[in-house]
Amino acid sequence: MSSYLIFAYGGVGLCGIGVFGFILHTHLLRRLIAFNLLGSGTFLILVGLSQSGRGEADYIPQALVLTGIVVAVAATALALVLIRRWAALTQHATLPEDQGPS
């Protein structure tokens, strides 16, 4: 197995863990971390798998991942702003439907 493919499988693992955490967690910050893991996994699959097909570095997916990382950071920053504002207004870091009886 080429090292490209190994990391593609690593990306698959990250995606699985990310999806598991994203659905399981109700805390918004944890959910955001899960989303970022899911993103990193996707990027690893994109580059790793494409390069394992060719057997050498492929610059197109690498460029796409660079774009993807920046977009992910923008989304994360936006989510954090919303989460903080939400926490400031309600003293909660979970959505109302997830707060449960307490």
Binding site: F20, I33, Q62, T67, Q91, H92
Partner: protein
């Protein structure tokens, strides 16, 4: 031997990912996440992608980490419910488990198929590289072949900053700039600032021929701005709405302007004039670097201005 290193890296990666999701303390979760970003940077180097490694370290681990840590400080007052892993009776747990396992299974099945791509896009990249105005393929893709993507991507960044300022304006708290208590640290940071600025410009310049470019340079520049802010110099610049927004849109405006010029000469959007592509790319990248640095910095700055209001009532 190499495979052993790769497998070890993957194991560390998955271990850190699990830790960052399921550790009890949120602070530790964020720490593990930042660590994961650094390991990812190593992975990208193993994947022959030094550009992404740079970006991952600077943006993925660095900026995201700072933003997460910063948010954490503001979330202290909220009820921190630790992850309830042991609640096996909850349907949510089983839904999460089945989805996660399903994703792994499907993806593993999909990528186990042998690949024989019908189109060799990488060959086209190397064939057209000489006409792109730069010699580094990734910069050629990001700022010439697929510059339209990059244009929209910069719009995404501006948009994120815009949401931050939208939600800020309902707060009455102005930015409080606390000077660092230690004069030695203060002096050191002052010295650091020009050096970091230089590093950023070098990354930008180098991007034409080797790993580096506007986004990595922008992230480094943001760090420089943060230091600049911490030593307490000229931060009123950032509090003025006009300078704030002007800084955000400068890169995008330049990009749109340069991109629309060829329309007047009957050429498609975003076409660079023959033989001058290199200069225009550098110009746009300079604009983007400044704007990206400024946007990332203002994300940090705006987060300073809305501290959690302590309320007595729950």
């Amino acid at each position: 031997m190499n495979e052993l290193i790769d497998l070890t890296l993957v194991c560390i990666l998955l271990g850190l990912a699990s830790l960052s999701l399921f550790t009890q303390s949120l602070f530790r979760a964020v720490m593990f996440f930042i660590l994961l970003g650094l390991i990812l940077a190593l992975v990208w180097i193993r994947l022959d992608a030094p550009d992404i490694a740079l970006a991952e370290a600077a943006i993925g681990a660095g900026i995201t980490g700072i933003l997460l840590l910063d948010a954490l400080a503001h979330l202290r007052a909220t009820s921190n419910t630790p992850p309830q892993l042991r609640q096996l009776k909850q349907p949510r747990f089983w839904l999460a488990l089945i989805s996660g396992a399903g994703v792994i299974l499907l993806l593993a099945l999909a990528i186990s198929e042998p690949l024989a791509p019908a189109v060799a896009l990488d060959l086209q990249v190397s064939e057209n590289l000489t006409n792109s105005g730069v010699t580094h393929p990734i910069t050629a893709i990001l700022l010439n072949f697929r510059s339209y993507d990059t244009l929209l991507e910069v719009a995404v960044l501006v948009l994120a900053a815009l949401v931050a300022v939208t939600l800020r304006q309902s707060d009455e708290h102005p930015v409080v700039n606390e000077y660092l208590p230690n004069p030695l640290l203060h002096a050191c940071l002052k010295l650091f600032f020009p050096m970091i600025f230089l590093v950023s410009m070098y990354l930008l310049w180098a991007g034409a021929a080797q790993p580096g470019g506007a986004f990595q340079a922008g992230a480094v520049l943001a760090a420089a701005f943060v230091l600049f802010y911490l030593v307490g110099l000229k931060t009123q610049l950032a509090q003025n709405d006009i300078y704030l927004k002007g800084g955000w849109i400068f890169g995008l405006a330049l990009f749109v302007l340069v991109g629309s010029m060829p329309l007047l000469y009957g050429q498609p959007f975003l076409t660079y004039p023959d033989s001058q592509a290199g200069i225009f790319i550098l110009l746009i990248e300079l604009g983007l670097t400044l704007s990206i640095g400024w946007i990332l910095f203002s994300m940090f700055l705006l987060s300073q201005s809305s501290p959690l209001q302590k309320k007595d009532s729950p």
